[in-house]
């Protein structure tokens, strides 16, 4: 049955990417980095459940096949369908958000995926941003991952307008144009402390947001 599940996952993946394009006509803007198959951690702003679908759909197929989102196990393992989509279609790295429920160390799980040669899609804010500020303060996961995997490019990715397509609590998406902007990888500064690194990562991501954001 394994081949059937893999085949179904491939079809479902193509269908989901097609649907994302139909609703948002999503366009990847490569601004400071090229769409080449280098190993990367894409870190993005998080306003909607569709965020990683959009990044995933805007990647060229060859990159898409190796890009795994880091997602919450408590969300993606709650039903068989979600579990199929999370595990088989997106091959998500599923982590426990609540520290007390953890069996595995999240940074360890991410590093393991990178050791296998995959790229990651990560939302360092840790939760969806529902407020008026463009970005929530980053959690420390990105810093620890950067220390563990110093050879991987950290690419900031700004997702624009998806919060209007799919606001929290709504079921029907509104078709509106979205863009996904990929910026230049973060420079590595070996002796930087956690706070300074996270500040710099936040600034690099915010710099990709379109100027007239309201």
């Amino acid at each position: 049955m394994h081949w059937l599940r893999t085949g179904l996952a491939g079809v479902a993946g193509t269908a989901i990417a097609f649907f994302a394009h139909l609703v948002t006509a999503v366009r990847g803007i490569w601004d400071g980095v090229e769409p080449v198959p280098a190993q990367r951690v894409y870190f993005a702003n998080h306003t909607s459940n569709g965020d990683f679908v959009l990044i995933w759909a805007s990647l060229p197929p060859a990159l898409r096949a190796r890009a795994r989102p880091v997602a919450a196990a408590d969300y993606w393992l709650t039903s068989p369908l979600r579990s199929f989509i999370g595990r088989d279609v997106f091959r998500a790295v599923l982590i426990q958000r609540q520290a007390e429920a953890r069996v595995d160390d999240p940074v360890g799980q991410m590093a393991e995926a990178i050791d296998k040669g995959d790229s990651l899609i990560l939302f360092p804010e840790g939760t969806r941003n529902m407020g008026d500020t463009p970005l929530l303060p980053f959690k420390s996961g990105l810093f620890h991952l950067a220390e563990r995997c110093p050879e991987v490019d950290l690419v900031p990715v700004w997702i624009d307008n998806l919060n209007n397509v799919m606001p929290k609590g709504e079921v029907i998406p509104i078709p509106l144009l979205c863009t996904v902007t990929f910026g230049a990888p973060l420079e590595r500064a070996p002796d930087e402390d956690k706070a300074a690194f996270l500040k710099r990562a936040e600034a690099a991501l915010l710099a990709l947001a379109p100027g007239d954001e309201t």
């Binding site: 006509a25 366009r27 307008n161 209007n164 606001p167 709504e170 029907i172 509104i174 078709p175 509106l176 144009l177 007239d212």
Partner: protein, 313 residues
């Protein structure tokens, strides 16, 4: 529905024009753009390529008859509305109003046209959508920028759905002596308006000196405007055999729609300036978005529809 012979003749003519344009583009590219650095020629060739696709799509839809044209324009309305509403003022409270615009109002408008129900499709958006959408929005209690939100949403529907749907609505007109040929009215309208856009571009590039609206659209010139509108109106007169019009009537009709198209382009440029963008979208290479390509047709279609309906039915 089988396509009238006139339609095939017009298509042959259009394909001939595209072939000549492609050859010119190719020669220009060989002479002046060997390294791909001449932006004007790159853009010209991208535009010509996109024209091939647009003509093929429109031709196929028209060969498929009423249903084909309805589906094509329904999809064009969808793409245009998606571009337009991306730029309008909105809040989370507008979610149902926006979803209703896409998934209820847009399809219903085209269903009413498919039914040939003039009494409904001609007032559905200006009356029913106009009154009910603000009610749907107000129930969520968000008053911030309320008037701007509902007005911009209504405007988007009027332009992208109501006005655009008047192209397929031409198929519902019963013109004595013109039975089974109403698809030719669409061909006439779309051809003259788009030909005017192309000829304004060509005359503007060849002779353009004096800017007609520097604040709105720096590429539009008096020479392009006069040359484009006159050339396209004359072409319209020569296409009288497609239509129920006499040659002089065809000339006047073409003049009206090309003028409407020109001013429609200016209005849509003003909105782009207001919203701080250059193109509405990016899906048609060299042209921008769907609204960029459709703006002139959208402004001329309802006027063409009602003039034809008033004088010829």
């Amino acid at each position: 529905m089988t396509a009238p012979a006139e339609f095939l003749q017009l298509m042959a003519g259009v394909l001939g024009i595209l072939l000549v344009a492609s050859v010119i583009g190719f020669v220009l590219s060989l002479k002046l753009n060997r390294d791909g650095s001449n932006a004007t020629i790159e853009n010209l060739n991208a535009r010509i390529k996109a024209w091939w696709a647009m003509v093929a799509l429109l031709g196929l839809a028209m060969l498929a008859g009423r249903t084909g044209v309805l589906i094509l324009f329904g999809l064009l309305s969808f793409a245009a509305l998606r571009e337009f509403l991306t730029l309008t003022e909105k809040r989370r409270a507008d979610h149902y109003a926006l979803a209703g615009s896409f998934f209820i109002i847009l399809p219903l408008q085209y269903v009413f046209i498919g039914m040939g129900w003039y009494g409904m499709y001609s007032i559905f958006i200006p009356v029913y959508a106009f009154l009910f959408l603000p009610i749907v929005a107000v129930l969520r209690g968000e008053t911030d920028r309320f008037l701007m939100r509902i007005a911009e949403t209504q405007w988007a529907l009027m332009i992208c759905v109501f006005a655009a749907s008047h192209v397929p609505a031409l198929l519902t007109l019963d013109i004595p002596g013109f039975e089974g040929k109403s698809i030719l009215l669409i061909a006439f309208l779309v051809f003259t308006v788009q030909f005017s856009d192309v000829m304004q571009y060509v005359w503007g590039k060849l002779l353009g000196r004096r800017k007609i609206a520097p604040k709105l659209s720096p590429s539009k010139t008096w020479e392009g405007f006069v040359g484009g509108v006159l050339t396209a109106s004359l072409a319209g007169a020569f296409l009288w055999w497609l239509t129920p019009f006499a040659p002089w009537q065809a000339f006047l009709m073409a003049l009206v729609v090309t003028l409407m198209g020109f001013f429609g382009g200016l209005v849509m440029s003003a909105i782009k300036r207001d919203k701080g963008i250059k193109d509405w979208g990016h899906l048609i290479a060299g042209h921008g978005g769907f609204v960029d390509r459709l703006d002139s047709v959208v402004f001329s279609a309802p006027i063409f529809f009602h003039l034809t309906r008033f004088f010829w039915t």
